[in-house]
């Protein structure tokens, strides 16, 4: 009988150079602090010797074009490629030093997909979609030079309205936990993104965060109070810049009622950086 042996969530632009450019010295300092916290989480994850790592993240309109924007999508197959971009700008550029290919856990991905369909989760599937910084920056930061276990990338549409609800994302996490429990595998799960940044996805509001909103989320997570989190509306997430918290909602569903331990929270004017871990073992 399988179990979830590690759960963590973290910001996913983890580039000191980028934050040095946009926030100055404090940007570099806080990014390096966040990276250190996430690397520590990675060491604890590696110690579990998990069979697979589920990574719940969003697509920044890189993997999916406007011919299809899935609400929730499971990447199946045997390996996944990192996204490539000519003359990459901003956080697309952070991918360039990362490995091109990553193994997938085909059995777990197929089980999440197939059992999901049977249980009423009409999940999208992809054999080809590449993954961007939202997946690979945390995964590579966690592992450093250690081997990366087979991944199960799961996308949540955090940006293209209408997005799935917080409650539905939580339910997907509950489904993942049920699949893992019935499987023979020990599994880690991470969710990436956030915390608040880019409110209303508006260029003039780049540089704003909502620390009060973020602290409210952290308060509930630390107490294991997941019902108010499921009541978060699309409008609240949009206005606060909390879009990517939908990824975290999937993780919360998978580990509920576990309580969160905040490993790092750092306020920047561009984004509030965070690294959070749950006691699941």
């Amino acid at each position: 009988m399988g179990k979830i042996v590690f759960a963590g969530a973290m910001s996913h632009v983890l580039d000191p150079e980028y934050y040095q450019r946009v926030c100055g010295d404090v940007g570099r300092q806080k990014t390096e602090e966040a990276i250190a916290a996430i690397a520590g989480m990675g060491e604890r994850f590696s110690a579990t010797k998990a069979d697979a790592l589920v990574v719940v993240a969003d697509d920044h309109l890189n993997a999916f074009s406007f011919n299809c924007v899935p609400a929730m999508c499971v990447r199946i197959g045997r390996e996944v490629q990192r996204m490539t971009q000519d003359h990459a700008e901003a956080f697309d550029a952070v991918l360039e030093h990362m490995p091109l290919k990553y193994p997938l856990h085909e059995g777990l991905a197929n089980a999440i997909l197939e059992q999901g369909m049977a249980a009423g989760f009409d999940l999208a599937l992809s054999w080809e979609a590449p993954v961007d910084h939202a997946f690979l920056a945390p995964v590579n930061t966690m592992h450093g030079t250690r081997p990366i276990p087979p991944l199960v990338p799961i996308w949540v549409n955090c940006f293209v309205a209408p997005q799935p609800s917080a409650r539905r994302c939580f339910a997907l996490g509950q489904h993942i936990a049920r699949v893992v429990a019935k499987s023979p595998w020990n599994v880690g799960i991470i969710a990436t993104g956030g915390l608040s940044h880019f409110p209303e996805l508006s260029v003039p509001r780049i540089g704003e965060t909502d620390t009060v909103f973020d602290q409210k989320l952290i308060h509930w997570m630390e107490r294991g109070e997941h019902e108010p989190l499921q009541e978060l509306s699309a409008d609240e997430l949009h206005k606060s810049g909390g879009h990517e918290f939908l990824n975290w909602m999937v993780l919360l569903g998978a580990v509920s009622p576990a309580r969160a331990d905040v490993r790092y929270f750092g306020e920047l004017r561009r984004i509030n950086l965070a690294a959070v871990e749950w006691k699941v073992a």
Binding site: H60, L61, S65, F66, Q85, D86, H87, A88, E89, A90, F91, D92, F159, V160, F198, L201, S202, V203, P204, I206
Partner: protein
Amino acid sequence: MSRYAVNSLLYRLKKDPQFRALFIKDPGASIGDLDLTDAERAAFVARDLRKVNELGGYLHLVISIPSLAAR
């Protein structure tokens, strides 16, 4: 507002370097046959991606198109 036309154009500008080069050379001609409003077309021709965002262009596209990204 032509949500699909605006964002599929942004996506193509990001992912298709040949089309991007055509656009940079002659924005008006390169988007001449697209179903854009006058305001959208004017914003693209002016390479004003902040304005394109205001008109419905997705943030993560307008800030990541090589050599055209909004700041």
